[in-house]
């Protein structure tokens, strides 16, 4: 019991709220961006907050306790990942090991898989099997890029990668590892489930996949899941490639720049079939990442 630190607990609670609200803000802004591309006015930028509040005010149906536990496990796993992402050069737990981040990120998906499969709807099962298959597609390029950086710096700390890029644009990894950045941008589309990799949530095809049986509060948790996921994944890319940031607003701006690119691609692309999607990820993102790995190793030796 003596290990429980009051201040740290407060910080962790604050951080989880920060990750959720940043993600929700980005979701609203992303809808606005899509709307402007389609020449619409779009919803107000705080629309995602309204949606979540409304979802939590509705009555909801649970199918069994596995569904409840699965949703909580998913949200908990993702929020735990958010603690390890350095926010503007500050890691709340003191550690920001990329190995832990990659490990915890999959817990979110596994919890989601457990929760929505328990609902018994075949569409949900199809959706989640697609999500897990796609995970196989994008995790291999990401791990290869991370491996290249770990070999270069002899460390697995995300903060080390971020601080190594300090001192101007030229030091950013986006210019040092351009192939790796392209690979991770492609993988990022798949991680977020945006087009052309939106097999998981295909509203007209499998009735929004994992979300099909989620009602009211469960849908609210689903929204929060996406929000935290957004925060984690944009934060990962900013720290890996865009030089991190020393102030919070620069960090947020960089995060939004990453998401903005993703939304622009999402607005103009169509959907692949699932096997095309995985093949595409391995062929292009995988090849780029592998090339980057070889080039990095040759440069070191």
């Amino acid at each position: 019991m003596s290990n429980i630190n009051g201040l740290l607990t407060l910080k962790l609670i604050g951080f989880s709220f920060l990750s959720m609200s940043v993600g929700l803000l980005f979701m609203g802004l992303g809808r606005k961006v899509t709307a402007r591309i389609q020449r619409r006015l779009g919803p107000p930028f705080y629309q995602a907050f309204l949606d979540v509040f409304k979802a939590f005010s509705k009555s909801s149906i649970t199918h069994n306790y596995v569904m409840d536990l699965g949703m909580i496990m998913a949200l908990g796993g993702l929020i735990a990942t958010a603690f390890f992402i350095p926010f503007a050069g500050y890691a709340v737990l003191g550690s920001s090991s990329i190995v832990i981040i990659l490990y915890l990120m999959s817990i979110g998906y596994l919890g989601m898989a457990m929760g929505v499969s328990a609902s018994g709807n075949p569409n949900a099962t199809i959706g989640i099997s697609r999500a897990l298959a796609l995970m196989l597609g994008y995790e291999i390029p990401i791990v290869m890029i991370v491996l290249a950086m770990m070999l270069t710096y002899g460390s697995s700390d995300l903060l080390t990668f971020a601080t190594a890029q300090q001192g101007g644009f030229a030091n950013w990894h986006i210019f040092k590892y351009p192939l790796g950045f392209l690979a991770i941008e492609i993988s990022f589309q798949a991680m977020l489930g945006e087009a052309p990799y939106d097999h998981m949530i295909a509203p007209a095809e499998i009735a929004s996949g994992p979300m099909v049986e989620l009602s009211g509060k469960y849908l609210g948790i689903g929204f929060l899941l996406h929000a935290v996921q957004l925060y984690v994944e944009t934060g990962l890319i900013v720290n890996l490639f865009l030089g991190g940031a020393s102030t919070w607003y620069v960090f947020l701006l960089k995060q939004f720049a990453v998401y903005f690119t993703s939304m622009c691609i999402n607005a103009v692309m169509a959907r692949y079939r699932i096997e095309q999607g995985i093949a595409h990820l391995w062929k292009y993102a995988g090849t780029l990442a592998l090339l980057q790995l070889f080039i990095t190793r040759l440069g070191v030796f």
Partner: protein
């Protein structure tokens, strides 16, 4: 005893204030499920896309009844589709709202004497808003949604509560057409002549409300 009365009143008031806050969120974020039974669905794409842009008001299409707040009946309803509509409506979570498009859900429209088509949707499901016209243009649709938002804020759009309270009445009406066995060969006659009207039920609701106060 006085204390108790005071407490009850306070709690009611607080609950109402809280409901008012929730209603604000409900009206600003309505997710709809549209049941494209008839021609009314044609008017929805222009309402949703560039020209009229429904998303300005936080409204958007949803894939399943579980996620939706608003069920749109866009056109005439045959007996077969009525069964599915009832099922979809009952799968939705409270609070839920139902909007009938065009004249067909109001009185049968041009299909009023057709044997497989039902004439009055409000006999089977609680309709929160009807949009007259054949078909209503996007302007009319947006106008009616604005009205619906006002009603939600004032706490008047309580169709789902009415459905819960008078479920027997609605269920009997549904059974009457869904479990119909005799062939319809004779000239059309109102199958609901012996039923109390919806107005009578609403009047009853009002009297009971008065009794509580």
């Amino acid at each position: 005893m006085n204390k108790n009365v005071y407490m009850t009143n306070l709690r009611d008031e607080r609950q109402n204030a809280w409901e008012g806050i929730l209603n604000y969120f409900r009206k600003r974020s309505m997710w709809m499920l549209y049941y494209c039974t008839g021609c009314g669905a044609v008017e929805l794409p222009p309402t949703m896309t560039t020209r009229f842009d429904m998303e300005r008001f936080g409204m958007g299409p949803m894939a399943t009844p579980r996620q939706a707040d608003l069920l749109l009946i866009t056109g005439y309803l045959s007996v077969k589709t009525l069964k599915r509509v009832i099922r979809s409506y009952e799968q939705m979570q409270d609070p839920k709202y139902l909007v009938g498009f065009g004249s067909c859900p109001i009185n049968g429209g041009i299909y009023w004497d057709t044997y497989p088509v039902i004439n009055h949707l409000e006999m089977f499901l609680p309709v929160d808003m009807s949009i007259a016209g054949c078909m209503p243009r996007p302007q009319a649709i947006l106008d009616s949604f604005e009205k619906l938002r006002d009603e939600i804020q004032e706490g008047k759009a309580v169709g789902y509560k009415r459905y819960e309270k008078h479920y027997d009445w609605y269920k009997a009406n549904q059974d009457k057409v869904l479990n119909r066995e005799e062939a319809i060969l004779q000239p059309w006659e109102d199958p609901f002549a012996d039923k109390p009207t919806l107005e009578a039920l609403q009047a009853e609701d009002k009297i009971e409300k008065g009794k509580d106060k």
